[in-house]
Every structure is written in C-alpha cells, then in structure tokens.
Amino acid sequence: MSVSGKSVLKRLDWFSVLIYISLVFIGWINIYSSTFTDDNPSIFNFASLHGKQLFFIGTSAVSIIIILALEANFYERFSSLFYIISLALLLGLFVFGKTIAGATSWYDLGFFNLQPSEFAKVATALALAKYLSDIQTDIKRKKDQMISLLIILIPAFLIIPQPDPGSALVFFALIFVIFREGLPLYYLGIGFMVILIFIFTLMFGTIWVGIILGLLLALFLLLKKPSFKVPIIPVALIYIAIVLFSLSVNFVFNSVFEQRHRDRFSLWLRLEKDPKKLEQIRRDIGYNTYQSEKAIESGGLSGKGFLEGTRTKGDFVPEQHTDYIFSTVGEEWGFVGTATVVILFTTLLLRLVYLSERQKNDFSRMYGYGVISILFVHYFINIGMVIGVLPTIGIPLPFFSYGGSGLLFFTALLFIFLKLDANRLNELT
C-alpha cells in the first residue's frame, strides 16, 4: 500500500460521498415505511425487511473501507479476472441457481442470496474500460468496435434467459462509454432512428411512416442547393430498408411479442383508442403503474408524512420496497420529496461526469463513464416506470430499492471509481 488510508480520505470526493449517504438514508427511511407494520416497529429487527436492509447497509460500509484500502491499480489489473468470474457465475446459475418469483437469478448462500448479474455490471464496466484503454485498441477500427460490443453483450445474453431482460438492458447502456471514446455518432443516430420508426409504426402504421418519409425526402429534394448531387441509389435503398424495417416491426409486434409485451406498449403509447378498454388495460396490465401513479399523486405537494402513506400501508403498490420504492417517497414526502430525490440523482450523475472528465488516466475515465451509464439507466428506467412515462421494466433504483446484492454492488461500483479518482494525482508522480 503506497498510499496511506489517511491520504485516501483526504482526496476522496466527499461531495459524491455525501450524496451517496443521503440517497441510502432516504432509501432506507422509505423501505422502513413500506415494510413497517405494528408488529415489527424496531429498526434493528433483522427478521423484517427494513432490518435486513440495515444489515446490508452495514455490509456496504465495510466493503467501502475494503475498496478504499486496496491499491488503486488492483482494479485495473484484475478486471479481466473479475469479468471471467462474473461470466462463470452467470453460467453457473443455469445449474445451481435459485429461483425467486420465476427468475433464476440468485445463488443461495444461506444467510444471503447473491445476484451475480449485479456483480457482472461492475465487472463488465471494469473490463470494458480495461479493453478500451489498452494501448493496442483503436475504437475507429471495426474489429475493436466489435470486441467492445461483445464485452457488453456476452453477459447481457447470459442474463436474458434467466429471465431478467431488465437487467440485461442495463448492459447496453455501457455503449455510452464506447461513444465517449470515439465510436462514430451515426451509430447513435441509427439507433435513435430505429426506436423512432419502431414507435411511429406502432402508433401510425407502416403506410403513414412510408408516406411521411417520402414527403420529407421530396421536401429535401425541392429545397436542396442545385449544386448538391443526390446519390439516388443509396437514398432509395435506405428508403426501402426503412419501409421493410417498418413492416418487420408489425411482424415482430404481432407474432414475436407476447400479449403482455403488446399490452405494455398499448398502454405506454396509448395504442388502444377505446377509452374504456384503455382504462381496463390501465387497471389490469398497468395495475402496478396505475397504483404507483395514484400513490404519488395522492402525496400532493408536501406528502402525507412519514409512516402516514395510506396506500403504502395498505400495500396497494406491489413490489413497493423494491422496484416501486419511489412511489413511497411520492406518497409520504410529496413533490418536495420526489423532486429532492431527482435532484440528488441528477447532481450525483453530473458530478461523476465532471470527475470522469478530470481523470488523467484513460482507464479511470472510461470506468467512470461506465459507472455513470449504469447508474443513469437504472435511475432513468426505474423512475420513468414508476411515474408512468416509460413501459414497465423491472429494475431497481440504485441505493434505494431493497436488496443486498443491489446495494452492495452499486456501492462497489461507485466507490471503486471514487478510489480511482482519489488516486489520480499519484498516477503522475
């Protein structure tokens, strides 16, 4: 250990740590409220969920000390190993996994259920940073682009069949890291177009997508400078490709998707035109979202107060202590509470962007972006789902949702980066 513990604490970004502590604290308060019953009011009752979460918070605190105490280059050096271990653990689930609520995502360690996909997020972020920061890697090369994508996709594809498509989705967020490091932006453009065409096709149908696109093209041809020569054949091919894609969207939606997926989209995009049927879907398929929206709405500006959320007490919102924990914030702390949480996350993420950009070491910066991508996508999808602007995708809210593996590895994810950041001046000397 070349760096003493004292100097780590001195150089640690305490601003981020403070936000982390706030989020964990607010999170636990709300878990307490949503799992509290008159039988187990004691906060140290480890048979209760809020008691267990308190234990996980303690475990996380210990892990922070270990993470900060280890040498900074330990993480870079062993990142490939972590990655391979995580892939092995994911594969092992097919044999030794424990099934909870239909998903085989856990190892039963007796006192604790370990969710390797959480570990894999940290390992993949490290591995990706390691690969991209390698002096031999050039992100402009197609081959290197493919390998980076593979690093992300292998764990994702191992997680999908658990089935846990929500967690798998998180890995795609790591593409942001590759973008930051130079992946041409038109990839992002294409991705964005694909999503837009997908949504427009569902909302308006292939014919309208074709017509509108044709009109836009005609408009472009009319307004273009006479000197600009249009490559007729490629443009025509792209147009045909888009129309074909749009047709395939219909096929996928109607034949590949299951009814529950279709319903989620019907609800999200308001595809069902009959208001009565829509309301029915809202209450049946969208039951969770409906209840969580109502709970949040009933909080009003200042909320009903700690332990006073009637819908929380009545267990109206399913999975409220895990994925829907944000609805408890909404009901009991009102707009003041929800806005505070959103602002805390936004601030933390922006702070991490700032910290990443100031890294002199490529690995640290890339890992920093990995951390931001993973935290952001969780936060975005989770709160988006709970407040009803995104379809239902079940992933937890970092630092908030009940769950040991989640809290432990989100903590590890963040503090490994803070350790790297604290160490950045040593790199120069």
């Binding site: 973008f179 949040i296 009637t310 109206f316």
Partner: protein, 622 residues
C-alpha cells in the same frame, strides 16, 4: 460534443421527471382524497333518530330494531340449506339466487341476505346462527309508530336517492332520511349527526387497523326528540270520523297558531311504510288514484271555500265603509245579475249583517260585495283593495307553516281578470260569485282554518305550525310567535262573530249546538264539477264548515272540508261539532250524532262518477 452529450441527457431527463411529478402531484392532486382513497374506508356509526311526542307528551314515533341477515359469500361453509331456509322463511331458489347476487357484488364484502326479520324470526334464528359460517345478523333501526294516525303530518323516512346524494354531501348511499312531513321538515334535528371511523384497508379490502390511530374519528351525536303541537287523541278521533269520507280537517289553537290536528281522509297507517312490506304497501297507496291516500288533502286540496268566505267579504265591506251592520239587502229567494237570477236558500226577506250570516243569504253578500266596488272609481281599484284585505288573512299564500308541502290557493286579482275578460271589460257583477265563495277563489283547508283563527282572534293570527318543543325546550321562533295582523280593524269583527254565533243558535247549524259551549261557525255548501268523458258534470255539493269555540277567548278554530258531503251542516258541521266537543270536553255526550258520523260513509257518492251510469246528485239520504 461527446463530452456534453451525456450531461445534457442527464439534465433533460431530470427536467422531464420534475415536470411529470409536478403534473401528478401539483396539478392532478385532489385535496378531497380521504374519501377517494381506496385504502381508507369510512365506517359510520348512526345515532338513534329522535322520538316525536304529541302536545301532551304522548309518544307518537319511536324506533324499533330490525334484523337483517347478512352474508359474506367467501366465508360460507357447506351447510344444511333446507334447515337454514326454513329458519329464514325463504325457499331454496331464493336462497341460491340471493347468495349468487351477493357473490357477484363482492365475495369479500357483506350483502343483505334477508332483510328485516321479525322479532320472532330473529329469536328463533339467533341461537342457531353460529352454526352457519359466513352469515351473521345485523341490527338496524326502523321507525316505530305508537299510533295508527297522522301519517300525513308525521311523514316517513326512506333511503336517500341519487339526487339527495348530489345535493347534500353529508348523506351516503343507503342512509335513511325524512322524505315527507315532520320527518322531512325537522330532519336535521331528528337525525343527529353520524359518527365516523376511518379504517385503514389493504388492497384486499381487509381491515388493518384504524387510520391515523383514530384521531380523525368522530362520535355520533344523538338525534333530539321533538314535541309537536298535534293532539294525539284529537288527531286519532278525527281520522276515525273521516272513515269513508274524502276531505280535510284542520284544527288550530287561535292564541298560538299551533296545529292541533291535521287530518286528511282517506289516510293510511304510518306503520305500513316500515319494514319488509314497505315497497309493496307504498305502490298500493301510490297507485290508488281514486281515493289518493298519499295526497294530503288538509294542506294540498285547493277548492272553492263556499259560504265561510262570506265572513271575509262582510269584514272587507265593513272596513271599506260599504256597509254598516244595520245595512239591509232584500232577498227575492235569490238576486239578479243583470237579468239573470241567482238562487238563495235562506228563505227570502230583508237581511242585515247578522241574519245574512246566520242564514247564509246569498243576496245579502252579493249586495255587500257590489257595494265594496262601488266605493272605488274603477273595478280594478276596488279589486286591489279587496285583494289586499283578503290576502291579509293568509289566503292566496303558502302561509309559511312548517310542513314541506303546500298550495297557495287562489285569490284572484285585477291582472287575473284582465287576462280573462280584457282590461275594463269586467265589473263586480262579472265576478259576483266570489261574494259567496264560489267563482275563482280557492283555498286549502289549512288556510280556511287559519282564516277562522284570525276571526276568532278578532284581527290577527299566528302562522300555523307543528313544532312545539325541541329536546323538551319550548321553541322561540319569531316566525311562529309574532302575531300577523289583518287589515281589518278590531271593532268590525264583533258583529261578524255575533252572526257566526247565531249560526249555532238559530241559523244553519242550530241542531249542532254543544251544551255549555258557545260556538261560532259558518256553513258552506259548494257546487263542484268534474269531467266525465270530457263532459262537465256536476257532482254532489262539497260540505264545508268552519267554527271556533268558545266565542270568547277561543281555544280551538277548525275547518272541515268534506268532498261531496252535500250541505254544510251535514257532514262537515257534524264533524266540526264533534271535534270541538272532543277537544274541549274530552268526551262525547251526543252519542247518536257520533254514531251516525262513524257509520255513514260517502263511498257510494265517490263511486258515482266512475260507474259509467247517469246519476243523481244532492240526494237526501238522511
């Protein structure tokens, strides 16, 4: 560009979330949420409805328990259906259909299986109830009537309807409220205030404890008892006399305006509208369109007053200086309007005020009526003066008594006649029928009684009312305790009262005198018509009578209106006389008179227009 891309997305998402949250929590927020919240159920604790007592402290209305058999379908275990059905007194089909209905409503919530068991059924069932899981007995409170009379004035209670719920948020579906009569008028006093307990529910609608530890809960506030001005004995007696007769009786205490009896015939037993048979009984009453038992004739039947109205014309003529008590008119067994002769039954001769009243001479009052108008340059001005005086007796208005229904009657004015005949196209001769209480004037029995009370008081009256005490304390409502003065000077009343007293001594009601009581009264015999298959057909005259007694310091003023009872002293006069005796003396000495009134009915008279046969009217049957 690459460096700020992620930061911009993070900021944009943050703003979107805040926007969406402010939409949900600030714009969509409804402050009325404790009632909309599915997690909170309000359980009401109903106070007992206040009792109603009569003026002498006799109980009229109280409460009785009723027992509903309730079911929670999910908790029902296999049972001996046959035995259970026998206990409940229903057949198996009904049992199955009720159970299915309850299950469709909610498997988890209670539904009524059999409503309102009798006390006997309840007694038999109670011991065995615990054998039938999922069923239990719930007690409800129903009205109990300690009288078979007064349904029209007491009113009834029934479940609130959509309209009540919309208008008055303090009611919840399924609650009971006063729908007519005193029950409606004094609903807020009788009802008290329900208590509420807020219960926290979970998503399966199970109770998980009191909401906010019960800090928002309230205790029920008992309904207060009220004492009404009705005399139970007099009311019951009057209804007995009205058996088989259509019409109304209203008795007032002139010195206070308190309503002693408010009788409508035919009426019904108030207990009919309580309990299991309620809706069946109600339909039966409601659809009886010939005798209309739910139509309160004492306050709703607006008809020509007939001769009692002559007293008012006499007072107006005296006040306007058109006549003095000594002024005479000659009766030629009638009088002439232009060349047309109108009849009179007084016997003919010269009449002054006194004999004009006690012999009820049409010619005298036609003359007096004309003279009122002769005082004024135009008929219209005469009409104005006449209308002002007449209305000061409470006629042509709703009177303002404390019952929820009423009719204003009709006192015509110059606009009314201008509309019919054209401006300046009418004179006192055109409207001469009003002089004898026929023509266009219409009154209700309660107005007639109030008019009589005003004469009894020699010039003022108190608004008739039924409320006497609330929770045992006398009311002091200025509306009821302040005298309303007529526009006739006190001195003009004495000669009219004298004439009315003579009615009993040597006039139209001479045979109806009560020993030891000096009564003043006035008979009325009212021509009336109906339409049979579109043809205007005259029916037997309505029998009308107003009276007050004793003449000095009167204790009771009464108006009796008997449809198709022939001349005034016949049914109405008899009934008025008996009522006065009953009230003042407590018992009836003229047993034969009473027997006749109790036995005679007018059913055959009421059947005539519906018989489809030609019929005679004004037959002298006794």
């Amino acid at each position: 560009m690459r460096k700020i891309l992620l930061s911009s997305i993070i900021l944009l998402v943050g703003l979107t979330f805040i926007g969406r949250l402010s939409y949900l929590q600030i714009f969509s927020f409804s402050p009325n949420q404790i009632l909309e919240d599915p997690a909170i159920k309000a359980v009401y604790d109903y106070p007992e409805r206040g009792y109603i007592y009569d003026r002498n402290g006799n109980l009229l209305v109280a409460n009785q328990p009723a027992y509903d058999v309730m079911v929670i379908p999910r908790e029902v275990k296999p049972l001996d259906t046959l035995e259970f059905c026998n206990l409940l007194g229903i057949d198996k089909e009904r049992f199955i259909s009720q159970l299915n209905k309850a299950r469709v409503y909610s498997p988890r919530l209670p539904s009524v299986m059999v409503p309102q068991l009798s006390k006997e059924d309840y007694g038999r069932l109670q011991e065995k109830m615990r054998r039938y899981e999922g069923f239990y007995i719930q007690k409800r409170s129903l009205r109990y009537y300690d009288t078979h009379s007064g349904a029209n004035v007491l009113g009834y209670i029934s479940e609130v309807n959509e309209w009540d719920l919309e208008r008055n948020p303090s009611y919840a579906a399924g609650e009971l409220k006063g729908t007519t009569g005193i029950e409606k008028e004094y609903e807020t006093i009788l009802r008290g205030r329900k208590g509420v307990k807020y219960i926290q529910k979970d998503r399966f609608n199970r109770d998980i404890g009191p909401y906010k530890s019960g800090t928002l809960d309230t205790l029920p506030e008992q309904g207060r008892q009220i004492t009404v001005t009705i005399d139970k004995i007099l009311q019951e007696y009057g209804e007995k006399l009205m058996t088989g007769k259509h019409g109304g009786i209203v008795a007032l205490e002139p010195a206070s305006g308190e309503i002693l009896a408010l009788i409508s015939g035919p009426t019904y037993d108030p207990a009919l509208l309580v309990g299991r048979e309620r809706s069946k009984n109600y339909s039966k009453l409601h659809y009886d369109t010939i005798s209309k038992p739910t139509f309160d004739r004492s306050i709703l039947a607006s008809q020509s007053p007939g001769s009692p109205f002559k007293t008012i014309n006499a007072l107006v003529a005296l006040q306007e200086g058109a006549i003095t008590p000594e002024t005479t008119f000659h009766c030629y067994n009638g009088f002439y309007v232009g060349k047309r002769k109108r009849g009179c039954h007084c016997g003919g001769g010269t009449r002054n005020l006194n004999s004009g009243i006690y012999l009820s001479c049409n010619a005298y009052f036609a003359g007096a009526f004309r003279k009122i108008y002769d005082q004024f340059p135009t008929s219209a001005e005469g009409m104005d003066a006449w209308e002002k005086h007449v209305k000061s007796f409470g006629l042509g208005t709703f009177l303002g008594y404390d019952l929820p229904t009423g009719r204003p009657g009709r006192i015509p004015n110059k606009e009314y006649y201008n509309r019919i005949y054209g401006e300046n196209r009418w004179s006192s001769s055109t409207i001469i029928s009003n002089s004898i209480g026929q023509g266009e004037v219409e009154v209700t029995p309660i107005q007639l009684a109030n008019m009589t009370a005003a004469i009894a008081n020699r010039g003022h009256y108190f608004t008739p009312h039924v409320l006497k005490k609330i929770g045992g304390e006398d009311i002091s409502i200025p509306e009821f305790t302040e005298a309303k003065h007529t526009t006739i000077d006190k001195k003009y009343f004495e000669p009219v009262v004298q004439g009315m007293a003579e009615v009993y001594k040597k006039g139209t009601a001479a045979r109806l005198q009560i020993e030891g009581v000096e009564i003043a009264g006035k008979t009325g015999t009212v021509e009336n018509f109906t339409r049979i298959n579109g043809i205007r057909t005259q029916l037997t005259d309505n029998s009308v009578f107003v009276a007050f007694a004793p003449v000095d310091n009167p204790k009771i003023a009464i108006a009796v209106y008997i449809e198709n009872g022939y001349f005034g002293s016949r049914y109405a006069g008899h009934i008025a006389s008996l009522m006065i005796e009953k009230y003042l003396k407590g018992e009836i000495t003229r047993v034969d008179l009473e027997k006749r009134m109790l036995e005679k009915t007018l059913e055959q008279e009421y059947a005539k227009p519906y018989s489809g046969q030609p019929f005679k009217i004004n037959e002298r049957v006794w």
